[in-house]
C-alpha cells in the first residue's frame, strides 16, 4: 500500500491500530472513526461519535486499542473522563464505561500489554489511575507530586512497570503494585516532556522528547543514562520507535514543523527520512507492524498512510561536499568519507530480513567528512604569488616612464610572465622610444621573415605599429628632463609645439614629467603641463615640426637625423593574435619573440593613435582577470590615455585592484594606488572615509580644530615634544590617553626605560 490520504472535516488528536494491524481508529475533539486498512486505501468502517447525547466524553485527547481484545477501545477525554468502548455492543452507541476519576484533562491512556482488563491513565491533574475494566473502577492511584502527566506507557517487556513523564521534565518509573512510592525518578529534560516510548526490543531503552526540541534515548539501568540525544528543530510532540529496527525513531513536532521525521539515533543530526505530506502539524503517529508503513493524523484534518519509499531522504539529499578557494589560492575541500558508509555488520547480521528490504543507506551510522587543504605551488595557475610579488615590486611612479616600464618588465620576466613583460617593453617603445629599451637590439633590425607591410589601409585595420625613436625617455636622462621641464615651464608655446610634433610622430607625449632620480616628488604628475594633450585632430603635422625637438633634447641617445627619418614599426599578427588574442593558456603565457617587431624604413610617419591600441590592451588584460596590469598601466601612463578610457570602467578596475590588494593585506600598495587614482574622485575618497583623527591639546585637554595645532583655549602649540620641548615636524607620536607625545625617536627611547608619561602627568602610557 502506497501513501494514501483521507481527509476529514475536523482534525484528530490521536490514532491507534487494532491488534491485527487491519484497522485504525482516529480520535479528536469532534471525530472518532474507525478505518479499515485495505490494500487500495483507507475505508471508513465505523463512526463512534454516534448517538443523541454527544457530550465532552466524546471529545478525545488520546485513543488506544486493547492489544488483546480487538473490540475494546479506550479514550482519554478533555473533561477528565476515561472512556472505554466496546465495538461488539449491539446498540448504536458503543460507549461502554466512563470513569470520572480525574479532575483535569486526561492526556494519555495505556492498556496493559498482557492483561486485557487493566488500563492506566495519566492526567494534567498530576495523578495516574489504574482501572480494572472487570470491576469498572479505578483501583490504584499514583501521584506525581502535582506535576501534570503528559505521557505514560507500560513497559512492554516487564509489564508490572510503567513509566510516566511530566511537565516538570521528570521521568518516573513506577511499579504498578506499589502506588505509595515511585520506584525511580530522574530529570530528563530542561522543560516539559511531551512524549515517551519504550523501545520495542531493547528492554532498557526509552525515548523521551519535549519542549527543549530534543529526543533523548535513555538506558534505564541502575543509573539512567542518556545514550543518544537528537536535536530537532521544534518542540517534539510524539515519538515512536520504528518496529524491527534498533536505531530508528519517528518524531512529530508540536509546533512549527509539519513533517514527520524518522531519525537514526546513531546519526542524530539529519533525519533519515521525512514525511512531508501533512500541511499542518502532525498530532499522532503510529507505525504499522511492518516497519515501512506509518499512519499519522494531523491538524490539517487528514489521516495519512505513509509508505517509507515515498518519504524524502534528507540524509541522502544533503550536500556532502564543501569547497572554497582562498585569496592565496588555497583550496579547501571537505568530502564525505566513502568507507564510513559501509553497512553496520552487527545490524545486518541481526536482521537478515531487514537487510533485504531496506536500502543500503539506511544502515549507515555516523557519516563524517574529511577536510583537506591544498596549497598551491608558487608557479601554479591558481597561485596568487605573482600578484603579490608584482604588487610589491612594480614601480608606479617616481621614475621616468622608461625606467618604470623597464623595471616592471623585469619584474614580470622574473615571475615568468613573459607576455606581461613584453607588454611593458612595448609600452616603453610606444611612449618613450626605442632608445629607452636598451635591451631590444632587435627592434631596430629588419626581420626578413616578415614582409614589410607598408599599406596604410591595412595597417590601420590589422597591423600594429610600434613607433619610437625619440630619446625623451632616456634612462639616464635625469638631467635632461630637468632641463626640458624647465624649458616647458618657461615657454608655453614652445611646449605646445613640441607636443604636436610628438603627436605627429606617433609619440603622443614622449617626454616624462617625472623628475630624475635626484628628486622624487610627492606629486608625480604635473598635469598642468599635460592639459593640452587633447590634440587628436592634429595628426597630420608636417615633419618639419620635428626640428626644434632635437635642439632641446641634447641628450637624446639617438642621432637626430635617424630619428626624424625613421619610423619604427613593429608588426604583429592580426587582431586575433594580437593584443586581444594572447590570453595565455594556463600558466605559460605566449612568449612573443621580439623579432616579430619589424622596422619599416622610410615610411612616412603614420598618423595612428597608439592610445586606442593600449586601451584595447588594457581591456584585454582586465578581461583576463589581470586587473593589476590594467591599473598599473593606467597609473604609469597617466594622462597619456586621457580621454580614451571610460571613467566608470577605470573606476571599476581601480576599485577591483584596490580590493584585491587589500585582500592580500598590501595596504601600502593599495594606498599608493588610491593616491595615484587621478581623475577618479570616488577612488581617491577611499582614503578619507572613516579616518577621523581628533586631536586634543596636551596641556588643557581642549580638542583642537581642524588643521590646526594651536590650542584655542590655552593658546599653546600642541605639537611639542614632551622630551625636548621642540616643535615636532614630521612624525608625531602621542598617547591617546593623556594627549602627550613628541618626536618618534624621543618617545621610543623614553618608553624603552620608563612606563610613565614623559610629560609628568602620571599617566601610564602604552607604547606599542
Amino acid at each position: 500500500m502506497r501513501t494514501v490520504k483521507v481527509t476529514q472535516d475536523v482534525p484528530a488528536n490521536a490514532l491507534a491500530l487494532d491488534p491485527y494491524d487491519t484497522q485504525v481508529v482516529i480520535a479528536g475533539r469532534h471525530v472518532f472513526k474507525i478505518f479499515a486498512l485495505e490494500e487500495d486505501g483507507l475505508v471508513e468502517r465505523a463512526n463512534l461519535r454516534a448517538g443523541k447525547h454527544l457530550n465532552l466524553n466524546f471529545s478525545c485527547n488520546d485513543v488506544v486499542w486493547n492489544p488483546l481484545e480487538d473490540a475494546v477501545l479506550a479514550t482519554a477525554s478533555t473533561n477528565g473522563a476515561v472512556v472505554t468502548w466496546n465495538l461488539n455492543k449491539a446498540s448504536r452507541s458503543k460507549l461502554d464505561c466512563v470513569f470520572n476519576d480525574h479532575s483535569r484533562t486526561v492526556q494519555k491512556v495505556s492498556f496493559h500489554p498482557s492483561e486485557a482488563h487493566l488500563l492506566i491513565s495519566g492526567s494534567l491533574d498530576g495523578f495516574m489511575k489504574l482501572f480494572d475494566l472487570r470491576r469498572r473502577e479505578a483501583t490504584q492511584t499514583y501521584t506525581s507530586n502535582a506535576e501534570s502527566v503528559r505521557d505514560l506507557q507500560f513497559n512492554p517487556h516487564h509489564s508490572i512497570h510503567f513509566c510516566a513523564v511530566s511537565e516538570s521534565g521528570n521521568v518516573q518509573l513506577w511499579d504498578m503494585r506499589r502506588p505509595d512510592r515511585v520506584e525511580k525518578q530522574f530529570t530528563a529534560h530542561g522543560g516539559p516532556i511531551f512524549a515517551l516510548d519504550w523501545h520495542p526490543e531493547v528492554k532498557t531503552w526509552i525515548a523521551t522528547a519535549g519542549r527543549d526540541k530534543t529526543i533523548k534515548v535513555w538506558d534505564l539501568n541502575e543509573n539512567p543514562t542518556v545514550c543518544n540525544t537528537i536535536q530537532t528543530i521544534a518542540s517534539v510532540g510524539r515519538v515512536k520507535w520504528r518496529p524491527n529496527t534498533r536505531y530508528h525513531i519517528a518524531s512529530s513536532a508540536l509546533l512549527w514543523d509539519c513533517s514527520i521525521n524518522v531519525w537514526d539515533i546513531r546519526r542524530p543530526y539529519i533525519p533519515l527520512a521525512a514525511f512531508n505530506e501533512h500541511k499542518n502539524l502532525t498530532t499522532g503517529i503510529c507505525w504499522r507492524s511492518e516497519a515501512n508503513r506509518l499512519l499519522s493524523v494531523g491538524k490539517d484534518c487528514t489521516l495519512i498512510h505513509h509508505a517509507f519509499q515515498d518519504a524524502s531522504r534528507p540524509m541522502e539529499e544533503v550536500n556532502p561536499s564543501a569547497l572554497d578557494i582562498s585569496v592565496f589560492g588555497n583550496i579547501s575541500n571537505a568530502a564525505r568519507n566513502k568507507d564510513e558508509s559501509e553497512p553496520v555488520g552487527s545490524l545486518a547480521k541481526l536482521m537478515p530480513v531487514f537487510r533485504r528490504t531496506v536500502s543500503h543507506a539506511e544502515h549507515s551510522g555516523q557519516v563524517l567528512s574529511s577536510l583537506q587543504l591544498m596549497s598551491p605551488a608558487d608557479d601554479g595557475p591558481i597561485s596568487s604569488h605573482y600578484i603579490v610579488q608584482s604588487a610589491h615590486q612594480y614601480l608606479l611612479t617616481g621614475r621616468s616612464l622608461a625606467e618604470i616600464c623597464e623595471h616592471n618588465a623585469g619584474v614580470a620576466k622574473q615571475l615568468s610572465r613573459h607576455q606581461v613583460a613584453l607588454t611593458w617593453q612595448m609600452m616603453q617603445m610606444l611612449y618613450v622610444g626605442a632608445s629607452g629599451g636598451s635591451d631590444h637590439p632587435t627592434t631596430t633590425r629588419d626581420d626578413p621573415s616578415l614582409p614589410p607591410d607598408t599599406n596604410p589601409d591595412t595597417e590601420t585595420r590589422t597591423a600594429r605599429h610600434f613607433s619610437g625613436g625619440d630619446g625623451g625617455g632616456d634612462t639616464s636622462g635625469g638631467g635632461g628632463f630637468s632641463a626640458e621641464e624647465g624649458d616647458t615651464e618657461t615657454d608655453d608655446t614652445d611646449n605646445h609645439d613640441m607636443k604636436l610634433t610628438n603627436i605627429a610622430s606617433g609619440l603622443t607625449i614622449n617626454q616624462d614629467f617625472f623628475f630624475g632620480d635626484g628628486e622624487i616628488s610627492q606629486i608625480p604628475f604635473d598635469y598642468e603641463h599635460l592639459n593640452n594633450t587633447d590634440t587628436s585632430q592634429d595628426w597630420t603635422l608636417p615633419n618639419e615640426a620635428f626640428e626644434p625637438r632635437h635642439d632641446i633634447l641634447t641628450r637624446s641617445a639617438m642621432p637626430p637625423q635617424e630619428f626624424s627619418s625613421k619610423c619604427l614599426s613593429g608588426e604583429m599578427q592580426d587582431s586575433g593574435g594580437g593584443e586581444s588574442g594572447r590570453g595565455g593558456g594556463v600558466s605559460g603565457y605566449v612568449v612573443e619573440a621580439p623579432s616579430l617587431l619589424n622596422v619599416v624604413r622610410g615610411v612616412k610617419m603614420p598618423a595612428w593613435d597608439c592610445g586606442q591600441l593600449v586601451v584595447e590592451m588594457l581591456y584585454h588584460y582586465a578581461s583576463q582577470g589581470d586587473v593589476q596590469m590594467a591599473v598599473t598601466c593606467i597609473i604609469v601612463l597617466g594622462d597619456r590615455l586621457k580621454g580614451l578610457l571610460d571613467a566608470d570602467q577605470v573606476e571599476h578596475w581601480f576599485l577591483s585592484y584596490i580590493d584585491l590588494l587589500q585582500r592580500f593585506q598590501l595596504w601600502n600598495v593599495a594606498n599608493q594606488v588610491i593616491q595615484l587614482a587621478a581623475g577618479l574622485p570616488s577612488v581617491q575618497q577611499l582614503n578619507q572615509q572613516s579616518t577621523v583623527v581628533t586631536l586634543q591639546c596636551g596641556r588643557c585637554n581642549y580638542s583642537l580644530g581642524k588643521n590646526s595645532l594651536l590650542c584655542r583655549k590655552c593658546g599653546c602649540v600642541s605639537a611639542r615634544c614632551a622630551l625636548c620641548h621642540g616643535l615636532v615636524r614630521g612624525l608625531f607620536v602621542w598617547c591617546q590617553g593623556c594627549s602627550h607625545g613628541g618626536h618618534l625617536h624621543h618617545i621610543k627611547d623614553w618608553m624603552a626605560s620608563n612606563r610613565a608619561c614623559p610629560a609628568g602627568c602620571g599617566h601610564l602610557c602604552e607604547y606599542t
Binding site: 528543530i233 543530526y269 578557494i325 588574442g581 594572447r582 585592484y657
Partner: protein, 366 residues
Amino acid sequence: MFVAKSLNAEHKDLIHDVAFDFYGRRMATCSSDQSVKIWDLNEEREWVCTASWKTHCGSVWKVTWAHPEFGQIIATCSFDRTAAIWEESVSDSGRGIHSTWIKRAGLVDSRTSVTDIKFAPKIQGLQLATCSAGGVVRIYEAPDVMNLNQWSPQYEINCKLQCSCISWNPSPSRLHAPLIAVGSDDPNTSSGPKVFIYEFSANTHKWNRVDSLVSISDPVHDLAFAPNLGRSYHLLGIATKDVRVVTLRPVKQESAQSQGNSMSFEVRQAGQFDDHNSTVWRVSWNATGTILASSGDDGCVRLWKANYLDIWRCISTMRGDTVENVAEADSSGGSTQQMGTASTGQHTARYFKLAPTAHPAHLQWH
C-alpha cells in the same frame, strides 16, 4: 602543483560548507552536527581551530564571512529554518586571547529550511541574501552597520521553486546593477529552468527577474558569480549534474527612457563538462575570477580555466590525496595557433601524487 594536507576537523557529521575569509587567513566550517568551527592560520602556517560552538538546532548548511570592514562577522543558515549572524568578540583574560562568537541576530522569517546565505558585496553595505527550500529569497539589511542586532527584511522574492543556492554578483562597478543568481535543486527536470537572475532596479526599488537560464533544467546544487575585476561581462559557475560556465553579457537596451537601468543579458554557455561523471556539488572561483574549482560526488576537485581562445578546459584534477595536472593538449585550433603552441608546448604534463600523510618530503614526481 598542490600540497595537500588533511585537517582533522572533528565535526561529528558531514561538513557542508567551508569558507575562507576576505584575507584567506581564517576559515569557517559548518556541519550537520549543528556546529561551526573557526580555523586560524598560525605563525607556523598551520590551521588551528580557535572556536567551535553549536549554532543551530539543525544541520548548518552554509557559512559565510562578511567583509572585514564590518568586523569579524559570519552568517550561518540551517535546516532549522533560521539564519544567524555571529560576531567575534575577543577578550584578553590575561592567559592568552580568547575569542568567543556571539549571536547578534537570528533571522526567523523562513518557514522552511534556509539553504543558503550570502553577504552582499561591500559596496552595497551590510546586506544579506538568504534563500530557502520554500523558494523564497529574502534580502536583509543592517541599516546601522555598527548595530548587528538589527536586520530588517528588505525584499522578498518568490522563486516558485525550492532554492538551493544564491550568489551576488561581486562586481564593484557602477556599470552593473546589483545582480543575484538563484539556483534551484528541484529534482523535477520538467519544472523549467533552474537558475534565475534577479536584478535590482534602482528606479523602482525592486528586484526583477531578468533572466532564467533555459539551458539548465537539472537540479542546481551550487552556483557562483566569478569575481569581476574588470570584465565587461559576468561569469557564472554552476554545479548541476555537470559543471557549467555561463557568461552573461549585459546588452544595453535601445529605448531611451530605460537609461540602461533595465539590462537584458546575452547568455552564452562557455563550457559544459561532465568530467565528474556524477553530481557536481560545489563550485568556487579564485580571487581573480579566472579559475573555477568544482567538486563532485566522484570525490574529485577539478580546476577549470579558459585558454587564450576563451575555451574552458580542465587544468587540474585532485582526487582524494592525489593531484594530477592535466596536460594542455592544444588540439582545437584557432587562427592564432602560432602563439598558442608556443606556450602550451613547453607546458608538459606534470603528474604527481601526494602521500596520504601529505608531507612535502613524500612528494613523488612522475
